[in-house]
């Protein structure tokens, strides 16, 4: 009995690895076709001269949001909103942002940039990210006793925060994002 169980989990694990690889290949292909494996496009976004990054992210968010909430309503999927706090998301987010501008890639597009042949990503970028992640692991116990707990809001979502039906957030937010994208296009950005 035990043996059967182990085989099953091993198979599940193996199929998870294969799916992960396939999802990665499609994701990497899309990122490269979108141009966001390039330093110039990402830093152009942060300098507000090229809006490719936001166009991709926001259209992914609208598509994803409608799909995953529809599937959740049908009982097909569960959602996994991450817990957080101001100490975690604001502090970490701002540090991340500073690194984002200096490196010119984020963790996912860093991998994409390597595939595109960009050697600054492969050398300095990867070494830096590995050092940064390792440094965080060393400091984690100390941070976890202090700043990470500040302003905790758990894994709350916007509809629960506003105490409204999910679609009361999804529909207006999608319209707002689409309007913003039209405005960006109209301004030729």
């Amino acid at each position: 009995m035990d043996k059967i169980k182990t085989t099953k989990t091993n198979n599940e694990k193996r199929s998870g690895l294969v799916w992960g690889l396939l999802f990665g290949i499609v994701f990497g292909f899309l990122l490269q076709k979108g141009g966001v494996t390039k330093f110039d496009i990402i830093v152009g976004q942060l300098l507000l001269t090229d809006f490719t990054v936001l166009k991709i992210m926001l259209s992914a968010v609208v598509t994803g949001m409608i799909g995953v909430y529809f599937m959740k309503g049908m009982g097909w999927v569960e959602l996994y909103p991450k817990p957080g706090s101001l100490g975690i998301n604001v502090t970490g987010g701002l540090i991340f942002g500073a690194g984002f501008a200096l490196l010119g890639y984020c963790p996912g597009t860093l991998a994409g940039a390597i595939g595109n042949g960009y050697l600054d990503a492969l050398t300095g970028g990867v070494i830096g990210v590995l050092i940064g992640a390792g440094l965080y692991a060393s400091l984690y116990p100390r941070l976890n006793r202090g700043i990470l707990k500040k302003g905790d809001y758990g894994n709350i979502t916007l509809p629960r925060l506003l105490k409204v039906n999910e679609w009361m957030v999804i529909i207006p937010l999608s319209l707002l994002i689409i309007l913003f994208l039209f405005w960006i296009e109209k301004r030729g950005l």
Binding site: G24, G93, Y105
Partner: protein, 172 residues
Amino acid sequence: MDILTEIRWSPYVVGVGIGVLSWFSFLILRKPISCSTSFSRFSGMIEGLFRGRKVEEKPYYQKVKLITDWQIMLIIGIVAGSMASSLLSGDFRLQWVPSLWESTFGSAPLIRIVVAMAGGVLLGFGARWADGCTSGHGISGTMQLAVSGWISAICFFAGGILMAFIIYSLLG
């Protein structure tokens, strides 16, 4: 298949594609797409090569287990997918210094690598501190309407825009 050999696709096609990919990620993997956790695992595994299994005792690696999981394969897949795309379109090229960087700070690779490394340290450190990156928070978190995702995404761009203006407007 001309479409595969095109250098660029419309950002909206790419965005909708990533959105649809995320549906399947919830359906099949039962997890949202996220990238930065894998870098913690790589980092811990490399440290393990030098310090042995003691590394796994660190509280953070009790939380983020040092295993080869689907997320690590996702990162490897991204490298492969991007390489396939750029080779198909002829956009693949080995390059040390990006052109926007070169036009501001010159073509010396060493300066670019040192700054990339400094940026990488902040990025890796910040991604773990924020508990996610542009994928996990910026796309997957925001689409689930997670408060943590929206706050993080806004701070990623706020910090990024501020730093980019400091570097390119004031120093450049």
